[in-house]
């Protein structure tokens, strides 16, 4: 298919890997932020094509993984009410809350429906006027405009039976947190191509300037990622720190202004807790006061509470790039996609799920 097969060309991928090998003279640690990119790297074994000087660590860019336990517990509690239909993206259903998960709640009789798009969530509300439809609106900047459209549409139609349980996270404050951590090993970043498609490049330019760290906005195909890695290695070897854009076919400097406008209309920046990582100031989005009537936490008067992650799960260190999934004693043994201890083993963007799916032999080694 056009714009896909070209970027999966093995000949070009191998040539890029060879050039990375020639350029890399010193050991470098690179992080890809986005879980979609982690899956491409594992699926195509890109890390195995790289010279030993270049180490890839995986970042926190898995929306399902960083959605707080408390949000999942709240979603399960709401779903269990007879008047509620809880609507969610499919990836969330198996994510463990502190006692159960949405799939189990559904098996026990709760009304839980999976949608591919927020448009469908609004449609369910229209078609079920006697039920309260709660949409579990999670995600990064890529998903925020679409989720915002659902709230905007519901307000325009004056729906009184639709609300959003919001858990939205932002990438730049998380990178800032990583770079200020005393444990940080990351020397350069592949910035997330779809987040930047929406938000543009400005926020990343600020990070490059503040931390003198090279960043390349990268795409999602193997050739995209190898090219982004080559661009980063060249910068690192030359002692430079610039923002470059590898994913020019989708990312412009200013981003998608129409999508940014609807985000700003519906959401405002707020403090946010990240599962496994903890609270990060000004790293999330919440509904604006004008949309309070569509805020499920307010509509249903949900109390704030705090629960602890199971001690056995090392997802915090995995999400911060400090450990690889295969460093976990539970990996592939007590923790599998069918029986996950933590969220990164469940999500199609989770690092543990990527290793389990494409790198199971690593368990035995």
């Amino acid at each position: 298919m056009k714009f896909l097969s070209e970027y999966r060309d093995e000949r070009i991928a191998r040539a890029l890997a060879a050039e990375i090998g020639q350029c890399a003279k010193h050991p470098w640690v690179l992080m890809e932020i986005c879980g979609g990119q982690t899956h491409t790297i594992m699926r195509y074994g890109l890390d195995e094509l790289l010279p030993r000087e270049v180490e890839l660590v995986h970042g926190p860019g898995c929306p399902v993984c960083v959605t707080p336990l408390e949000t999942i517990d709240t979603a399960i509690e709401l779903a269990s009410r007879p008047e509620v239909i809880l609507v969610s993206y499919g990836d969330m259903l198996r994510v463990p809350g502190s006692r159960s998960d949405l799939l189990r709640a559904k098996a026990e009789g709760a009304q839980v429906r999976v949608v591919y798009s927020p448009v469908e969530a609004v449609k369910i509300a229209r078609e079920n006027p006697r039920q309260q439809v709660v949409f579990l609106a999670i995600g990064f900047e890529t998903t925020a405009p679409a989720n915002a459209m659902a709230a905007w549409q519901a307000k325009r139609e004056r729906l009184t039976n639709f609300s959003l349980l919001v858990s939205h996270v932002l990438v730049p404050p998380a990178i800032r947190g990583l770079l200020t951590s005393p444990n940080n090993r990351v020397q350069a970043f592949i910035a997330p191509g779809h987040v930047c498609t929406i938000m543009g490049c400005g926020e990343y330019e600020a990070l490059v300037r503040d931390f003198r760290v090279p960043m390349v906005v990268g795409g999602f195909e193997p050739v995209d990622l190898l090219q982004a890695i080559l661009m980063l290695v060249k910068q690192l070897e030359a002692g430079e720190a610039r923002l470059e854009n590898q994913y020019v076919r989708s990312v412009s400097y200013q981003g998608n202004l129409a999508a940014q406008a609807i985000m700003k209309e519906v959401f405002e920046v707020a403090d946010q807790k990240w599962r496994g990582i903890g609270p990060i100031p000004q790293s999330g989005l919440r509904l604006r006061e004008e949309y309070a009537a569509y805020d499920a936490a307010r509509v249903f008067g949900m109390a704030e509470f705090s629960v602890e992650e199971p001690a056995e799960c090392i997802s915090a260190q995995v999400l911060l790039g400090l450990k690889k999934p295969t460093d976990c004693p539970a990996f592939g043994m007590r923790c599998t996609p069918d029986n996950p201890l933590g969220a990164p083993m469940v999500s199609s963007e989770g690092a543990c799920a990527a290793y389990y799916r494409y790198r199971r032999r690593a368990v035995a080694s």
Binding site: R11, R14, Y116, V119, M149, S250
Partner: protein
């Protein structure tokens, strides 16, 4: 709503964020919304550069080039 073909399957896609999209364009879609129109010129320029680089790597031989 637009109609977008994904490797054979046609699905409805919201075009609110790419109102400039026209019939025949390639778009990137996330949760049912098109988020960008693929810039064909940029895509081809990048690819040509990469292809030239791939072509220079003779060590991979004609098989890998097929």
């Amino acid at each position: 709503m637009g109609r977008v073909q994904f490797g054979g399957i046609v699905r409805p896609v919201a075009l609110d964020f790419v109102p400039e999209a026209a019939v025949g364009d390639y778009v990137i879609v996330h949760v049912g919304f098109a988020i960008s129109r693929v810039d064909a010129e940029e895509a081809e320029r990048t690819y040509k550069l990469l292809e030239e680089m791939g072509g220079l790597e003779e060590e991979f031989g004609p098989e890998a080039a097929s």
